[in-house]
């Protein structure tokens, strides 16, 4: 018991760290959000979300983030499943191949998509070479969504893959022995048992997609204004830190609400990474 008390002191530096670098900054942003630039109390920075421009960018962000998350889930689940069933000795290596792109600068990778998607770009050259009609999607919502799917896909693959690895294979065999076909096994056993991974993946994609401003800057070309872009502009161009903080608080509340909805869906309480 004495031992236990003494070891828990190892967390003291971190407890202090949490107070200063996690909790205190939140009070600061809240402080800015509920004051005017002169320092008197106001709620106008928070209610500013009702402004049609802000509201439509929030709505657009939600739509883009939602579509991005769904596409990531649809693309990632088979990948995780295939990886899991792969009969090779060194799966860790293959899994790492999904993280490796992050070692090429994120900004450059998105820029490369600009080059691929532009009207005279690589994609259209390939399309016209094989006789298909060309596409003009750069600087549209579609391009922004594609960029986000690209950027966040690994965050969906890895948690699902980890969840699948934890499933005891004999459970699946048992289902097959009891006469379940592939589809029944998949929907009744595999998916429910990987639910934690799916939920982590959804959160890890939805939250950054909701608040991203770089992808929409590069692939939306200023035409796609997400809530992240609005907040960024308040801090860098408009220099209205109070309004920027107010909108950030709204964004935060929004993330927390979607998170608690997700948590409601996830009734198991095993405190893994995220949720």
């Amino acid at each position: 018991m004495i031992n236990r008390l003494r070891t828990s002191f190892l967390a003291t530096p971190y407890a202090i760290w949490i107070l200063i670098c996690t909790i205190l900054p939140l009070f600061y942003i809240l402080g800015y959000a509920i004051t005017t630039s002169e320092g008197s109390f106001t709620l106008s920075n928070l209610t500013a979300i009702a402004d049609p421009v802000h509201l439509s960018s929030l709505w657009l962000s939600i739509k883009v983030a939602f579509v991005t998350t769904i596409i990531c889930l649809i693309l990632a689940y088979p990948v995780a499943l295939i990886l899991h069933n792969l009969k090779i000795s060194n799966k860790g290596f293959v899994v790492f191949l999904f993280i490796l792109p992050m070692w090429m600068n994120f900004m450059l990778r998105i820029l490369a998509w600009q080059i691929i998607l532009s009207n005279n770009g690589i994609l259209n050259s390939i399309l016209s070479a094989i006789g298909l009609p060309t596409v003009h999607i750069l600087y549209t919502k579609a391009a922004v969504t594609l960029g986000m799917v690209y950027d966040f896909l690994p965050y969906m693959i890895l948690p699902i893959y980890n969840a699948l690895s934890k499933i005891n294979d004999s459970v699946i065999e048992a289902a097959a022995d009891l006469g379940a076909n592939w589809w029944t096994t998949f929907t009744k056993i595999t998916v429910p048992l990987s639910r934690d991974g799916i939920l982590s993946g959804i959160i890890m994609v939805f939250v950054p997609a909701l608040s991203s401003f770089v992808v929409s800057n590069l692939l939306g070309g200023g035409k796609v204004l997400l809530i992240g872009n609005v907040i960024e502009q308040e801090f860098t161009l408009a220099r209205n830190w109070n309004l920027g903080s107010g909108l950030s608080i709204i964004l935060m509340i929004f993330v927390l609400v979607s998170m608690s909805i997700m948590n409601r869906l996830d009734d198991s309480e095993n405190g893994g990474m995220i949720v």
Binding site: S248, G272, M273
Partner: protein
């Protein structure tokens, strides 16, 4: 039937890899392009690689990036590992509070984390490399903690106690019994912190202050006037380094495994 399914699986994996690696291929090709334009192929050249070290602003940003990444990931690993051990031995209720707070940077949008830290830092310290390091520690510590904690949880308490009963000092017992078990978690936490820090833009952008540039923020300011082609060369080198390191650890892991199998 099974063969068809296998082929389809590999084809699908291949397509996903193509999707993930296509932009990287484009950038590697651009690093050999003898033209300032991003869209015109001007012939093959090594000159961007040759010019690289002579480009002071890029070398400066590279140095800043390496300093920030190493400092923040090493400090985050130390802070996070000791925190994980402390949390593991805490009362359940206290541990739950600590873990709840640990989740905040993970759940918060990067832009909100970056802005809130900037608002705090501007009060107490001039923004610069130091504030960026603090901010990077703030968002990478949770990854370390959540990588180390599961290792501690699967550790049998009895081993540590047995070591103590056999006369080991707590430190010696920790070093011989606990550390080897949690080390893989510490290492993967460190690598995640390293990768996250290296790839971060948003939080750096808000906390860096004027005059300090990492590779990411430098690229962002260059987007409008055009990217210096040397940056493609540098990124290609960094990417290939990471790839070679991955291959090397993979082969090392393999040979170890073979020995173990024998």
């Amino acid at each position: 039937m099974k063969k068809v399914k296998n082929t389809a699986s590999y084809l699908y994996l291949g397509l996903i890899f193509l999707f993930l690696y296509a932009p990287i291929l484009v950038l590697i090709v651009l690093s050999f392009n003898d033209s300032m334009s991003r869209t015109i192929w001007g012939g093959f050249t090594f000159k961007w690689y040759a010019n690289l070290t002579a480009n002071d602003s890029i070398m400066d940003a590279l140095g800043t990036t390496i300093r920030i990444t190493l400092a923040s990931s090493i400090l985050a690993t130390a802070l996070g590992t000791s925190a994980a051990i402390g949390i593991h031995y805490m009362k359940k209720r206290h541990a739950a509070i600590m873990l709840g707070a640990t989740n905040i940077p993970l759940l918060n949008a990067d832009i909100v984390t970056g802005i809130s830290l900037m608002l705090l830092f501007t009060r107490f310290t001039p923004l610069g490399e130091f504030s960026v390091v603090l901010a990077h520690i703030a968002f990478s510590v949770p990854y370390v903690i959540f990588n180390v904690l599961p290792r501690l949880q699967s550790l049998s308490e009895a081993c540590f106690e047995a070591a103590m009963d056999l006369g080991a000092t707590p430190w010696y017992a920790f070093y011989k019994v606990v550390w080897p078990e949690i080390f893989p978690g510490v290492l993967s936490g460190f690598l995640m912190a390293l990768t996250m820090s290296l790839d971060d833009f948003t939080i750096t952008y808000f906390t860096k202050g004027a005059g300090v540039n990492t590779l990411s923020t430098m690229l962002y300011t260059q987007l409008r006037k055009g990217i210096q082609p040397e940056l493609y060369a540098l990124s290609t080198i960094l990417f290939l380094l990471a790839f070679v390191m991955l291959l090397a650890t993979n082969f090392k892991g393999n040979s170890k495994k073979e020995v173990a199998d024998k």
